[in-house]
């Protein structure tokens, strides 16, 4: 199986869906001539031409709103946000228009749009460029939210997202773009709303998504090697829809849960997960649900300190040991 970068996996998904469906359009800042700020869309302009690969001005509200309007007439825009952090200037378009238009029209209008781009900290760019809005987005019925951690998942999920008839928010990670992973040469899809057990274990369950899944894998290996503790890792992959059955199955197996998310703690995805786990598997728990998040403050610039503000293998390790104490 070929090993390709995360960014290449996304590019393959885009190229395949551009080929499959003439109504798919890729647009965003620097996606065409510049080949993408993070080179995700490299070569697509040359292959598909300027009608399909469209450079936009710096007008997130304008071009996301435009994408929503175009999707109502059957176009399938895949819109790149250079950083998901810029969602805030397009908030009205995403949450009032994309999320609500189907509902407010009594189901008459569909909005098959995908908005994708990186959402992560850890790159020392300060608070304005380090937002991870999956929790904010997922709290709005009408949108779907996906956060892939590996090249395989990124490709399969993006293809599903582009074919989806509902608006899908697709959150990538600049620190993962260069990661390599095995991706089949033949076509495949990963359905939204299906979690993946990234590591089997028996002593505790780590529920995570995005880059912290990979950090949790590192921590799990350390737990095994240094403490003889066996951690199971459930990668949600999709926040909404949410594969709660896989989470609960793992809880029933290990009876201890640590949620790891690159997110501020208040009203995060972990808060919702913990609520559901205690409500639906209370008798299975041998300890309160534990959670590891960012240290609760705007993202700090200072490079060595930012690494400590975010989840990292050592913090995950300590949190896991605390849960098992």
């Amino acid at each position: 199986m070929p090993s390709i970068q995360y960014r290449e996996a996304i590019r393959q998904a885009l190229a395949e869906e551009l080929t499959n469906d003439p109504n798919v359009v890729v647009m965003g800042e620097e996606v065409a001539q510049f080949d993408g700020a993070y080179k995700v869309t490299e070569g697509l302009l040359e292959k598909f031409g300027p009608k399909r690969i469209v450079d936009t001005p710096i007008s997130e509200a304008g071009f996301i709103g435009m994408g929503v309007g175009a999707s109502m007439l059957g176009i399938r825009p895949v819109i790149e946000l250079m950083f998901w952090s810029f969602y805030s200037v397009a908030f009205d378009q995403i949450l009032n228009n994309a999320a609500n238009i189907r509902y407010m029209s009594g189901g008459q209008i569909q909005c098959p749009i995908v908005i994708r781009g990186p959402a992560n900290g850890g790159t020392n760019v300060g608070a304005t460029h380090s937002h991870t809005p999956e929790n904010v987005l997922a709290s709005h019925p009408g949108v779907k939210v996906v956060v892939p951690a590996t090249p395989y998942d990124a490709k399969g999920l993006l293809k599903s997202a582009i074919r989806d008839n509902d608006p899908v928010m697709f959150l990538e990670n600049t620190l993962l773009y260069g990661d390599r992973g095995e991706v089949p040469a033949e076509e495949y899809l990963v359905p939204l709303g299906t979690a993946d057990i990234k590591r089997e274990g028996s002593d505790l369950t780590i529920v995570s998504y995005g880059r912290p899944v990979l950090q949790s894998l590192t921590a799990a290996n350390l737990l095994q090697k240094e403490h003889n503790i066996s951690a199971e890792i459930v990668d949600l992959r999709s926040i909404r829809p949410l594969d709660m059955d896989s989470v609960l199955a793992s809880v029933r197996k290990t009876h201890r849960v640590l949620i790891v998310e690159e997110q501020k703690p208040f009203c995060g995805v972990g808060a919702q997960l913990a609520f559901m786990i205690q409500g639906e598997a209370f008798d299975e728990l041998d300890a309160p649900v534990a959670r590891l998040t960012n240290i609760d403050a705007p993202s700090i610039y200072s490079p060595p300190v930012e690494a400590e503000q975010l989840p990292n293998p050592q913090r995950i390790l300590r949190a896991a040991l605390g849960l098992l104490r």
């Binding site: 009608k51 007008s59 709103g65 435009m66 929503v68 109502m72 189901g107 074919r163 989806d164 709303g193």
Partner: protein, 371 residues
């Protein structure tokens, strides 16, 4: 049909068609787009304006009787704008507007029953009781709402135009907004995108003089339409109380969009008789005499009626009958709404996700709802 050019110093309004009558008032009845109308078609346009007004008056009474909740932004006084513009629609032309949306809905041909039922929050409403007054939609008539946030619908209109151009359709999207919307940032982003990519959109600013309770003089620097010049777009101004003038002016801008895929901005000067919404007591920011003066001299229905009578397309008896029919139709719509069922609580989670409503075609797993 003459096409207005992008003018750099003055509006490219319907000057081509303007003749002066003996009274000194411009007469647009002879504009090609108007002289092409049969008497019956003219009467139909008149009827449509009357139906809008009687619908709105009936809805106000229902609101006062507490049959309707939330907001109710009445269009009374502005009828010639929606009817004039929408009467020019071809099969690939589209409309989107803001929250003062009842007039456009009727102008594109929506029936009164589902509109009134929507106001009553009933399951038979055009949006199944899920949208309310500000959120009327009918994609089958190319009517895309009905949007609650000032200016928020404007990029959607650009997107509809983008889709038309992408698909190679020779249509235009009339993107309506109020005078208050012109100061929203996303409106300028939309202007830029439309001009940059030469999208077939006509931005129609319905200037009723007040963004809620703040007059144009207190809210907006410069001329509303003139902002088009910064984006090298054609623009125009026309008087919205004269249905013929609205049609004469808009026809050229629509053709510019359809034939050359060029966007434009048209400011249509109009006036609302009622407050911003029914919650606005309308006693703080304008004088009663101002409303009365407009109603007396520029009421769009009366002006068009006078014109049609002079043309002998309409007489007093027919006008009276149209009015009586419109009142009866509005009353029947209220009865229909009253008799209709509310949505069931089990309907709350329908129409949220396409996938949830089409379970046999669902591809994703997991939970979509979190009760």
């Amino acid at each position: 049909m003459p096409v207005p050019l992008a003018l750099n110093k003055k509006p490219s309004a319907a000057a081509d068609h303007t003749a002066r009558t003996g009274t000194g008032k411009p007469d647009h009845s002879g504009a090609p787009v108007n002289s092409a109308l049969s008497p019956a078609q003219k009467v139909e346009l008149y009827r449509r304006m009357v139906r809008i007004r009687r619908f709105e008056e009936r809805s106000l009474r229902a609101y006062q009787a507490k049959k309707i909740g939330g907001f109710l932004h009445l269009y009374i006084g502005q009828e010639a704008v929606a009817v004039g513009c929408c009467s020019l629609m071809g099969k690939d032309d589209h409309v989107i507007t803001a929250y003062r949306d009842h007039g456009h809905a009727i102008a594109v041909g929506m029936e009164l029953n589902p509109l009134m039922a929507e106001l009553y929050g009933k399951a038979t409403g055009c949006s199944k009781g899920k949208g309310g007054s500000m959120h009327f939609f009918d994609p089958t008539r190319n009517y895309w709402g009905g949007h609650g946030i000032v200016g928020g619908q404007v990029p959607l209109g650009v997107g509809l135009a983008y889709a038309l151009k992408y698909k190679g359709l020779k249509g235009a999207c009339m993107t309506f907004m109020g005078d208050g919307a012109v100061n929203q940032g996303v409106v300028h982003e939309s202007y830029n995108l439309a001009a940059l990519w030469e999208l077939p959109v006509v931005f129609v600013i319905e200037n009723n003089g007040y963004s809620m309770g703040t007059s144009q003089a207190r809210s907006t620097a410069g001329e509303l339409g003139k902002r088009a010049e910064a984006y090298d777009m054609a623009w125009g101004v026309c008087e919205g109380h004269d249905l013929y003038e609205v049609r004469a002016s808009m026809a050229g801008f629509l053709e510019l969009a359809r034939a050359k895929s060029k966007p434009s901005i048209v400011e249509i000067r109009t006036y609302r008789y009622r407050g911003h919404s029914v919650a606005d007591p309308d006693n703080t920011y304008r004088a009663k005499q101002e409303v009365e003066e407009y109603r007396r001299t520029k009421d769009p229905i009366q002006v068009f009626q006078n014109g049609l009578v002079a043309e002998k397309a309409l007489d007093a008896a027919l006008a009276e009958r149209i009015d009586a029919e419109a009142r009866a139709e509005a009353d029947l719509a209220a009865e229909f709404a009253e008799a209709s069922p509310f949505p069931d609580a089990s309907d709350i989670q329908k129409d949220v996700y396409w996938e949830a409503d089409n379970p046999s075609q669902r591809k994703s797993g997991g939970r979509l709802f979190f009760d």
